[in-house]
């Protein structure tokens, strides 16, 4: 007696009709939660470092210093002597604030030192020297 081949005639398609709905749902979620920075700062070329660590973005307040020694806080060019009063106000608003130095690698250290003195005066002591990540053994 010949064997009868039994084949499963059920459809095996994966339903994709709800794919667009899921995509839009996720899209709305990411659009709502994404945070874009609105600070343009100054054009700087950051130094490279291997021992870099990640700063907590929400706590960070940026200070840009370009290679000519120009200082920018919140897109306003300020003098080094203005750093202390500005940062004093900011530290009151956010006591856990981390000041990120976005400084050009060719900037004379004098400018950075003056800003750091202002930060000490304002008691904004947590700083992050922003760097580009250097990959060990990789030549740029």
């Amino acid at each position: 007696m010949p064997f009868e081949r039994t084949t499963d005639k059920r459809k095996q398609d994966i339903p994709t009709s709800s794919m667009g709905d899921i995509a839009f749902l996720l899209l709305v979620f990411f659009m709502v939660t994404v945070v874009f920075t609105d600070e343009s700062g100054l054009v700087v070329q950051l130094p490279r470092a291997e021992a870099s660590e990640e700063g907590i973005r929400d706590l960070i307040s940026n200070i840009y210093i370009n290679r000519d020694g120009l200082i920018s806080i919140d897109d306003v060019i300020v003098r080094a002597t203005d750093v202390a009063p500005i940062m004093s106000n900011k530290i009151v608003e956010n006591p856990f604030m981390i000041v990120a130095f976005k400084t050009d690698k060719e900037t004379p250290y004098r400018a950075v030192d003056e800003v750091m003195e202002g930060l000490k005066e304002a008691n904004a002591v947590k700083v992050l020297f922003n760097t580009d990540m250097e990959i060990p053994g990789f030549m740029y």
Binding site: A49, S52, M116, L119, K120
Partner: protein, 122 residues
């Protein structure tokens, strides 16, 4: 209408990838401020290793000229011989900030936990 989900996925990828572009990486430090001024301690000169960044961006380690690539080994040797070693990174105001960060990077890589920044008085 068929391409709507394609567009949605494209936008989705954009909004997922955008926040990942982190530029908040760097070397963190706590400066001596008004509140932690009492934390300052006197250190025996024998326990101090000084790195000096010159205006020419040359480097001195305990007054001896060294290459940047040798700094990690030199600091580690000092730490091995004396675990109380405090590294002082003294930078001249005319030196480049990039060189100061490069030295600070080497100090961090060497595993030195006690270090401080100083500016050369002129």
């Amino acid at each position: 209408m068929a391409s709507t989900s394609d567009v949605a996925f494209l936008l989705l990828v954009f909004f997922i990838v955008m926040p990942m572009k982190t530029d908040e990486i760097g070397i963190s430090l706590v400066l001596p401020g008004k509140s932690n001024v009492n934390d300052t301690a006197k250190v025996n000169l024998k326990n101090v290793a000084t790195i000096r960044v010159l205006p020419s961006n040359g480097i001195l380690f305990d007054e001896q000229p060294v290459r940047l690539s040798d700094l990690v080994r030199l600091i580690q040797d000092r730490l091995t011989s004396n675990d109380k070693t405090v590294v002082i990174l003294e930078t001249h105001p005319d030196a480049n900030y990039g060189m100061m960060v490069a030295c600070l990077d080497e100090v961090k890589l060497s595993g030195a936990r006690k270090f401080s920044l100083k500016t050369t008085k002129i």
